[in-house]
């Protein structure tokens, strides 16, 4: 959906693009061999660019696909083969098609190992808001609520601040929630943060960032372990 918007941005603002790529590249390392993974629109879909296929990961798309590989060119586009974001895709060997009902059975039934999603707001205890801004943006929830609530592991890949430079990570969310206490990890261009026991724990710092900058741009208490944190 916003893939298109994302692509337009790519052409205009390289800095944001670099940040997004950095996030996607880091996020890819969270994927373990053989896992079933769903990639939301935006930065999550960028992970495909960096995916190590030796892991034999299977990418799930809500519209009834397991085993999507990547967006494809006009020449190879098949009118009957798009992902949930609307983009034309190609497949890995062993891919399968199924109906929307089985597709969400897979998600809710606990067979989705990781979902990567974007965020408008994330709270200290891992609440996620990413689907509506009352009075401004109310396009409906799509499959996001089920992905957020039921993926075995939910990783948020997002720019650390919103378009107005305000923190997305807050003590508590102001916007209507997608799901409560669902986020396991947050990956931004500045930091990797684990959500553990209703607390945010800084686990990695971007090479380009400082601890001070991260704390300043995070509107929630951040646990910082002793010692030197890994850089990414």
């Amino acid at each position: 959906m916003s893939n298109l918007k994302a692509l337009k941005l790519t052409k205009k603002q390289l800095t944001v693009s670099n940040k997004r790529d950095k996030i996607a590249r880091r996020a890819e390392k969270e994927i373990i061999a053989g896992q079933i993974v769903n990639l939301g629109i935006g930065i999550p879909t960028l992970i495909l660019k960096y995916l190590n296929w030796e892991k034999r990961v299977q990418i799930h798309s809500e519209n009834g696909i397991l085993g999507m590989k990547s967006h494809c060119s006009r020449e190879t586009a098949d009118r009957n083969l798009i992902d949930a974001g609307g983009g034309y895709i190609d497949l890995v060997a062993g891919a399968s098609f199924f109906d929307s009902s089985l597709s969400f059975a897979l998600v809710r039934g606990g067979r989705l190992d990781i979902a990567f999603l974007g965020a408008l707001e994330i709270s200290t205890r891992g609440d996620l808001a990413n689907w509506m801004i009352p009075g401004k943006y109310t396009p409906g929830i799509g499959g996001g609520m089920e992905l957020a609530q039921k993926a075995r592991r939910l990783i948020i890949t997002t720019l650390h601040t919103n378009r107005r430079g305000r923190p997305k990570i807050l003590e508590s969310c102001n916007l209507p929630l997608t799901a409560k206490a669902c986020v396991d990890m947050i990956i931004t261009e500045l930091a990797v943060i684990d959500v553990v026991d209703d607390q945010l724990q800084l686990v990695e710092i971007a090479e380009e960032a400082t601890l001070e900058e991260i704390v300043e741009k995070t509107d929630a208490p951040l646990m910082v372990p002793d010692g030197v944190l890994p850089r990414f």
Partner: protein, 231 residues
């Protein structure tokens, strides 16, 4: 019991005020030919059930833009600012469901059940006004079954007793909707001899399908949307 018919006969029984389910997720699986015929047919005050509203000037959006739809039960309208605008202007009533809950409600109606209990959205605004019950210690909202007067679906191949096979991501909502309406109308890209489909590979058994219409020539709408080619 040959179910193959022409398109105008197929949709001729649709009446003002009816509830119509329409298959498809984006372009794949959307029955554009049946939608076009419904537009010509003129039925009004419809309730539409569809995953999304396609995109402006495409598919069901044409019906909505023409003012034929009073109410839309859907999952998201992120790709259709026209219908979102009509919703904001209160020209159409929209009920949003989480996508998996929407298809599950349809399947539930198709399976002759009354409803189901799910914890999806339990901690969100979506649980407002819903009955909440506890079963074996789990708390969930009661979701009601959805059925329609008519389902309009799209399949790749069909036969004269209504057996259907869908192709790739064009399957999506079509099999569930095929079970959940009093009259199920399927447009198919080709009709083949009954008995030539592999019985293990039939997605929708003919018992669920009432009318089959062959698409003689695919309209442009069935083709590639250039703005969705991302590489």
């Amino acid at each position: 019991m040959n179910k193959v018919t022409n398109i105008s006969d197929a949709i001729s029984t649709i009446k003002d005020g009816q509830t119509i389910m329409v298959g498809g997720f984006g372009v794949p699986g959307t029955p554009f030919m049946l939608i076009e015929a419904l537009l010509q047919h003129g039925a009004r005050h419809l309730t539409l059930i569809k995953n999304e509203a396609n995109e402006p000037h495409l598919g069901v959006s044409k019906l909505i833009e023409a003012g034929r739809v009073d109410r839309l039960i859907t999952s998201h309208l992120g790709l259709n600012t026209t219908v979102l605008g009509m919703m904001n202007d209160k020209k159409i009533e929209v009920e949003f469901n989480p996508q998996g809950i929407l298809v599950e409600r349809i399947r539930c109606g198709g399976a002759g059940l009354i409803g189901f209990i799910s914890d999806i959205g339990i901690d969100t605004v979506l649980s407002k006004n819903k009955q909440i019950i506890t079963l074996n210690g789990q708390k969930g909202t009661v979701e009601s079954a959805l059925r329609a007067d008519v389902a309009m679906i799209h399949a790749a191949v069909g036969d004269d007793i209504g057996n259907l096979v869908y192709e790739k991501s064009a399957r999506n909502f079509n099999p569930a909707m095929a079970t959940a309406a009093d009259t199920v109308i399927a447009e198919v890209e080709s009709i083949i001899d009954t008995g030539s489909l592999d019985p293990d590979a039939i997605h929708t058994p003919g018992a669920f399908v009432d009318r089959v219409v062959e698409i003689r020539k695919l309209r442009d709408e069935y083709g590639i949307l250039e703005h969705h080619v991302f590489t």
